[in-house]
């Protein structure tokens, strides 16, 4: 693919980058804010006030980005990526250096905060890198590597402590081990919910794609739960979960779950009996046998989610490894309580369902009719058709649904602290309570980075799982196409 005449995305990035540096008239994004302590009003420094040399260099870089974006040149993607990456590293290094200068000799309670200009600069880097990736040939596997050097540079600066004197870093140090623990909880909650949503959503969508009756129920349901406010959902879940946790023992829950599985086993046995499928009551019987295990299945799912979440959090450093309780202990000891991770996991799983269900359903029903008809006509069983034809063709869309759900879940997990499940939302709330913007950022910035990372990883996975024959056109040499 030849590059378009202009790269408007990168041009926009360059423009934002220039705007971030300017400080004139009513437009005062500022660069750094210096306060003697958390409570007093501080002094806002413009970019050219904080570090004139770096600001000049950044201005030159952004102007170069804008200029290059206007040139229809083949190597443009690489040059844009290089310029934006340099800008990212220069901006971070200059902010760190300026903060160190400001903090030199200042009291320990003093804080240097980032102002709009720096955030705009980071936004400009993101936009320009995005534009660079967009510019690279679609089929080049290397296009996703374009932003990597810049990101590595940023990571290197952060890890090396270059930004250590910023308020954000100070707050991080002030929270001690809390940050690591809440980050682990956040990841565990989001990861477990996503896993549960996949385990429930994909089979539900497969059933929906096979039977219009199921689709009429599943698709609106998945859409409906998305409209529930999270706070209301938490409120609704507190009482029943609390009851469940106190009334039911661990062993009782296990018995209930096993009992619920019996109808499923019966159903499987009946299916092996060929005459069963022709019996007039078969449809009703099957519906009944499938409906009975729903409640025990849901209970089992909640217990499994709570346990997996606990193990995952412990593994990531967010608490002790949970102990398996005695059989006669109430279910609450396992974590199934009115507050804590159980309601959070339920709510997050429900929210993550819609993108997964919808994409899987769309993918499966979008498989060309000719392919399914040919498959059946050649003697594939419905299961073989699903595994050999429908799922492989739907897979890219399924993964895209999981990607959307992952980005959504990482963000939504922020509210989990409301029901006592922890997560990075804790710092946001703490920051709001104590009027410390840097503390709010301590929660918000990692959430944004996690969402971007999840997006990137799952995009790559989606590409890798796209069957070769259905990728974007790979043109053959012209002579080879004939009757």
């Amino acid at each position: 693919m030849r590059p378009g005449p202009r790269n408007l995305v990168a041009l926009a990035g360059g423009a934002v980058g220039v705007l971030a540096l300017l400080d004139a008239g009513p437009w005062r994004p500022g660069w750094l804010l210096f306060k003697q302590n958390r409570l007093v009003e501080g002094d806002a420094l413009p970019a050219f006030g904080a570090d004139p040399g770096a600001a000049g260099l950044l201005l030159a870089l952004w102007l170069a980005v804008a200029l290059v974006a206007l040139l229809p040149w083949r190597g443009r993607a690489w040059l844009l990526a290089a310029l934006a990456s340099t800008a990212l590293v220069v901006a971070l290094a200059s902010v760190g250096g300026a903060a160190r200068e400001l903090m030199d000799g200042a009291p320990p309670s003093a804080r240097v905060s980032l102002l709009g200009g720096v955030w705009l600069t980071l936004l400009a880097c993101y936009v320009a890198l995005f534009g660079a990736v967009d510019d690279a040939p679609r089929r080049a596997a290397t296009r996703l590597l374009l932003p990597v050097p810049g990101l590595l540079g940023a990571v290197w600066l952060v890890a090396g402590g270059a930004l250590g004197e910023l308020g954000l870093a100070r707050e991080l140090a002030g929270q001690g081990g809390d940050f690591r623990a809440e980050l682990a909880r956040h990841l565990a909650l989001a990861g477990t919910s996503l896993l549960m949503a996949c385990l429930i959503g994909v089979p539900a969508a497969i059933a929906a794609a096979r039977r219009p009756g199921v689709a009429r129920f599943v698709l609106p349901s998945a859409g409906f739960v998305q409209t529930l406010p999270s706070l209301a959902l938490f409120g609704l879940l507190v009482a029943p979960l609390a009851q469940l946790g106190q009334r039911l023992t661990v062993a009782g829950a296990a018995r209930l779950a096993l009992l619920g599985l019996l109808p499923l086993l019966l159903l499987l046995a009946l299916r092996r009996w060929p005459r069963a499928a022709t019996a007039p009551a078969w449809g009703w019987l099957r519906g009944l046998l499938l409906l009975v295990p729903v409640a025990p299945g849901a209970l089992l799912a909640v217990i499994a989610a709570v346990v997996v979440n606990g193990l995952l959090a412990a593994l990531l450093g967010g608490g002790a490894v949970p102990r398996w309780p005695a059989g006669d202990a109430p279910l609450a000891t396992l974590g199934v309580r009115g507050i804590g991770s159980a309601p959070a996991l339920i709510a997050l799983t429900l929210y993550a369902l819609l993108p997964i269900v919808r994409n899987t359903y769309t993918g499966l029903t979008g498989v060309p009719r000719a392919a399914t008809e040919a498959g059946l006509g050649m003697g594939m069983s419905p299961r073989q058709l699903l595994l050999r034809v429908q799922l492989p063709l739907a897979l890219p869309l399924v993964v895209d649904g999981v990607r959307a759900a992952a980005v959504l879940t990482v963000g939504t997990t922020t509210v989990a602290y409301l029901i006592g499940a922890g997560g990075l939302g804790v710092f946001i709330q703490r920051g709001i309570d104590q009027v410390v913007p840097d503390l709010v950022l301590l929660g918000a910035v990692p959430i944004i980075l996690l969402a971007l990372l999840a997006d990137l990883l799952l995009r790559g996975l989606g590409r890798a799982l796209t069957p070769h024959g259905v990728r974007e056109p790979a043109p053959r040499e012209p002579g080879s196409v004939g009757a």
Binding site: A374, M378, M380
Partner: protein, 371 residues
Amino acid sequence: MIRFESVSKRFGDVLAVDDVTLHVPEGELVVLIGPSGCGKTTCLKMINRLVEPSAGRVLVNGRDVAHEDPQALRRGIGYVIQSVGLFPHLSVKQNVQVVPSLLGWPERESARRADELLAAVGLEPATYRDRYPRELSGGQQQRVGVARALAVDPPILLMDEPFGAVDPLTRERLQDEFLELQQRLRKTVVLVTHDIREAVKLADRVCLMNGGRIEQYATPEELLRRPRNRFVRQFVGSDRALTRLSRIRVSAVMESAAALDVRASVEAAEAALATNVSLYVTEDGALVGWLMLPALREAGSVQEGYTPLAPHQALTPSDDVREALSRMLELGVANLPVVDRSGRLVGQLGLEDVVTMTAPTEDAPGAAGGA
């Protein structure tokens, strides 16, 4: 081989197939034809149980298909559909291997079989086996579809408008190739189409359907020469005489042609032209042109006097007569030479021969000589 016994199919209030009784003999190619909604595709799909009859029985090899396991039944019957239905995520080779892999063939054997079949349908295995359907033309996809249906060498082949989705030129070629293949393999084929010319060209027998019923089940000659009722007559068209010609090969009706070697003397040529208005001129048996008396006299030698003829102005024995007639009308001549593949003159076809042959007598001898 395949037998329909009083088969009916009802979709809601619509009677799609109404009491059809039909026998498809082993090794024959039977075409189901009729206007849209006449029940032809429904009949086809009842053979491999993609559709279940509401009444009556469908027998394959004497066994009621209703008692067979549908998946096992379908794996033993080749199936080609109009839109080809190749699996876009599988390579050409993997597409051909689908049924063998369902049957658990070892990979080596099914790979060898795939190569063999690709070659049989005219696709060089080394070039095409690793391509994906999207990288093939419509005609190539259709060939892969046929190869895929033949993968486990099923005795029966069901084809639902197999040549419908390609351009007319490619369609002709695919039809010719399929006929050739069928002459070798002698499968029992049931083919659905709505194109009467395709039916006449390919079929051993044609089953013309309308409103779920069979209007006439006969050989193409019979159908064209003796349409049983008004519907059949209308469906086969007022140009059915021409349609019939498309089944007849030039080789069946051509007659010997008078020819003169290019090195013959003027005297010999004049003698020969006393009995013929014109002569074909050959050089070592290969057709080079034609000669008439005035031109010979004016030029003074055969060499100088003959009118050269380009190879495409001659017919080949495998052309059909309809095409030959069209060529005559186009060139404005009443005779055309017939040459074999190496350009040797093997005979000629005259307009009178064609006319006598198509004369609507009940026992016209020429018509029975069709291919």
